[in-house]
Amino acid sequence: MKEILVEEIISAVENLCIEANYNLGSDIMAGFNQALKDERSPLGREVLERLIENAEIAQEERVPMCQDTGMAVLFVSIGQDLHVVGGGLTEAINEGVRRGYDKGYLRKSVVKDPFERVNTGDNTPAVIHYDIVPGDELHLIVAPKGFGSENMGGLKMCKPSEGLEGAMQFVVDTVDRAGGNPCPPIIVGVGVGGTMEKATFLAKKGLLREVGIHNPEKRLANIEKELLNRVNRLGIGPQGFGGVTTALAVNLEVYPTHIAGMPVAVNIGCHATRHKEITLQGRACQ
């Protein structure tokens, strides 16, 4: 058994919120550079150049790459042999978000009630997904999610008879309907299987995977390649101005499901799909 102080968690979350918003992942930068070579539309190439320039400014000047600094989504894996001391874990995470969005000059984009829509003023609460794992470490991923892209996702409770083709068609149709709204080139997270909420969770998890890394299962990796190809034939292109680079990646995650169903969820990430992570080690109990 080990323990960790909430102060350490607060400080880690604060830092991850800021760093995720200032520093675009090198995988997406590599994706932009590859797209610059592949894109046939001159206007599309110009957009890609501006996006690279924007990410460089954000990194050098330590400012948010996008004004939508997102709702803070956290994936927390806590070792079952780790004890959090000094306060509640959820409270500590929200305090970290509060401090990060204040100190990092990030936009406060959360409203307290979806109908009354009054801003909470500190970007809390976060959306937190917990997982209990073996061991005595705490793994935190902060993935600030902008809503230009979040709004364009979708879920379809497909019939098993629709099969792989039905699932793929739903993914392609969802991206087609989104057009330029989610700030292409996009990352497409696809979750298939489980229950309704499990499929949407898997789709979100798909957005955490690095661009250019395929699902380790070859059969699923081939589906990702086929989907990326079909999405990039839609013609939407960078910013929706037309072109062959609509998505940088399609990341598919699957889970066992019920004999009667095939939930298919699509979660779209913009070209500023951000996530930063850290593993915190516990210390021997006092």
């Binding site: 320039e53 948010p64 936009r107 801003n119 230009g148 079909r230 839609l234 037309g242």
Partner: protein, 185 residues
Amino acid sequence: MSEIIRIETPLTQKRLKSLKVGDNVLLNGVIYTGRDAAHKKMVEALEQGEDLPFAMEDQIIYFVGPTPAKEGQVIGSAGPTTSGRMDAYSPKLIARGLTGMIGKGLRSPDVIEAMKKHGAVYFGAIGGAGALIAKCIVSAEVIAYPELGPEAVRRLVVKDFPVMVIIDHDGNNLYEIGKAQYRRA
């Protein structure tokens, strides 16, 4: 790439009618910000016969909610938000004389009809390029609804703000034209 057209605001009917879909424009002068909550408030004000935060005639609204300015900055990151959420409100402001909107993403047929009927242009700025666009903003001042925080209405002065004509006053739409040119589905 088409020639770059420099425009000084306000955007008059005569000037906007010379703009065509796909034109590269550098905007200069005063523009106003407004997004979801501010649009709702402005349209409610109109319905109750109250004054708007600024006179709409020949003005441009930029759909944006910036991040807070750091010390020494005029404004934080300030890229466009998705315009479609303003579709329910834009036709009413266009009818009151609004001649330009800057945002990103698709617009509804009702908005495009209003643009054709009254004369207005929809410009696209590069979505997600908030750090880059902030460099074109020379001054920023909250003029209405400060309680809305990032959604407050601001008066901006911009210098060579790069935008593109996405939908012109005839309803020609770059999203449709561009997509058709590269579509192989």
